[in-house]
């Protein structure tokens, strides 16, 4: 029976333990930040290990004196936290100190806690600090990495991260030394959710000025074939001629540079300024008065100088457009990238 067959297959799809721990930690950090800004979760490693052992033996004793991150870590996997070994090795470059606090190597996976601190007090490390996929572990294997922001201490301008690295071939990580490095990070990020851009569609029905540009890629629905994606998202494509930025677009670092129809489809063009240094990005949709959302059909992207352009294409007839307004979620960054050469080497020791 199909239902049983589908369920049999689906039951084999489940989040792994590390993902649940990361999720719990990240969620708990958000909660801590909301309740008590800049709360620091650092604790001496010896005390943490002692607490772990007690907790592993007697979970009901989980008490108020156990720090929240570890508390939830134990709630999912009490046996795991006790294996984190102190590293406490650091380096400094460009006024930023990076410290590898502790690490846990087991099988093909490494879990590492890292802090970054602005020793010059310039505010380059904050609660939005993002390692921007620039971290690396110098080992002779292909690996998949994940990084979660854990917490931020405003007093010391120190951010903490939880990093997982897993070998692609399943071979264990063992022996010798490992070098953890970071070459750049983003900070000063701002997130804006469900921003309405009033009047943005008022002139969309007018005559479109267009140009042809080389497309760098884009986003398309999973249902498209590779041929469809190739046809729409590569080579020369007709897009809106970039116009004067919409004067009242409310997000610094992003401009609305065109809304018009081409071949019966609504094109909306956003310009992400200084995109390589900021990763400014956004996601827009059309929303009806009753809250109905219309997502884009697909998106094309192209870069010019330091600006990244996103052109969203919607399948909404022009005579129905008046029923919609433009909304978006946006992420911008005013501090931008901080670059440096942060490297810490420490021995690899598999947990027993």
């Amino acid at each position: 029976m199909f239902r049983e067959r589908y369920r049999h297959m689906s039951r084999q799809i489940a989040p792994d333990d590390a993902l649940l721990r990361r999720t719990l930690q990240t969620a708990q950090v958000q909660e801590n930040r909301k309740q008590k800004p800049a709360r620091r979760i650092l604790r001496p490693m010896a005390a943490m290990l002692a607490a772990c052992l007690c907790l592993a033996i007697a979970m009901p004793a989980l008490a108020a004196n156990v720090e929240p991150v570890y508390e939830i870590l134990y709630a999912v996997s009490p046996a795991t936290a006790q294996f984190f070994m102190p590293v406490n090795k650091s380096c400094e470059d460009n006024g930023i100190r990076m410290e590898v606090e502790s690490a846990y190597f087991h099988g093909d996976t490494a879990e590492i806690y890292v802090t970054m601190c602005d020793t010059e007090g310039k505010g380059r490390i904050d609660e939005t600090t993002d390692l921007f996929d620039s971290y690396d572990i110098n080992r002779p294997f292909d690996s998949a990495c994940g990084c979660s922001f854990v917490d931020y201490n405003a007093d010391t301008q120190t951010a903490r991260f939880y990093i997982t690295i897993q070998t692609m071939n399943g071979e264990p990580i063992d022996g010798g030394k490992v070098t953890f490095s970071v070459r750049e990070f983003l900070s000063g990020k701002h997130e804006y959710e469900d921003v309405e851009i009033p009047g943005a569609l008022d002139t969309a029905a007018g005559h479109a000025r267009t140009r042809t540009v080389e497309i760098d890629g884009g986003g398309y629905p999973d249902g498209w074939t590779e041929e469809e994606a190739e046809e729409k998202l590569s080579g020369g494509q007709e897009v809106l001629a970039t116009g004067e930025p919409y004067s009242t677009f409310p997000i610094d670092g992003i401009d609305l540079t065109g809304t018009c129809y081409i071949d019966g489809q609504l094109h909306i063009q956003l310009a992400m300024r200084n995109v390589r240094e900021t990763d400014n990005h956004g996601f827009i949709w059309l929303e009806g008065a009753d809250g109905t959302r219309v997502e884009e059909l697909y998106v094309v992207m192209f870069d010019e100088d330091t600006t990244g352009y996103y052109e969203y294409i919607f399948d909404v007839p022009v005579d129905e457009l008046a029923a919609y307004s433009l909304h978006g979620d946006f992420v911008t960054c005013d501090t931008g990238l901080t670059k440096g050469n942060w490297r810490v080497t420490f021995p690899l020791e598999q947990a027993e």
């Binding site: 067959r5 939830i72 996601f283």
Partner: protein, 167 residues
């Protein structure tokens, strides 16, 4: 809150992850995290378990859609997840499902795994009931073609044809 949060993640984690996998499997990890961050931020009050389930499903689908946003993510080649399926039939079915558009995979998952009536699926996904029924029917047709097991799949699927299905 941490105990409650850990409990919510423990109870809903697999549901969210499976739904995310059915929508866009390469991003299932990130989506799962995002869904629970939204839960923490909103801290919604649920009338009952059905309301709770619908909320998690709807937010998971929204998060899948939102992932188009970041250029960084778009330019990142997603790693192909490889699962060691228990049977060749599991692998075959999974591969077939991956050939369906996400909107079809969503309704298949909610109908056959979550046991939701089409009206509830429509409410959770903000689609019309008729649209969901049509998508279910179309998804079945595509699966039949892909699996090339017309007799067997037709028989097993028709045994679970929703009574209100007109598509």
């Amino acid at each position: 809150m941490s105990d409650a949060l850990a409990g919510v993640i423990a109870r809903q984690g697999s549901r969210v992850y499976r739904m995310a996998w059915s929508c866009c499997r390469a991003e299932a990890d990130d989506i799962t995290q995002e869904v629970f961050l939204r839960y923490l931020k909103k801290q919604p009050n649920f009338h009952d378990e059905e309301h709770r389930r619908a909320w998690f499903i709807r937010v998971t689908v929204n998060c899948c859609n939102k992932l188009w946003g970041s250029a960084w993510r778009r330019k990142t080649v997603a790693l192909e997840e490889t699962l060691a399926w228990e049977t060749p039939e599991d692998s075959e079915l999974h591969d077939a499902l991956q050939q369906l558009p996400p909107k079809y995979r969503e309704v298949i998952h909610l109908y056959y795994y979550e046991d939701m009536p089409t009206a509830d699926i429509a409410a959770a996904l903000h689609r019309k009931d008729a649209t969901v029924r049509t998508q279910l029917t179309r998804a079945r047709e595509l699966l039949r073609q892909i699996l090339k097991e017309e007799d067997d799949v037709s028989r097993t699927l028709s045994a679970h044809e929703p009574s209100d299905c007109t598509g």
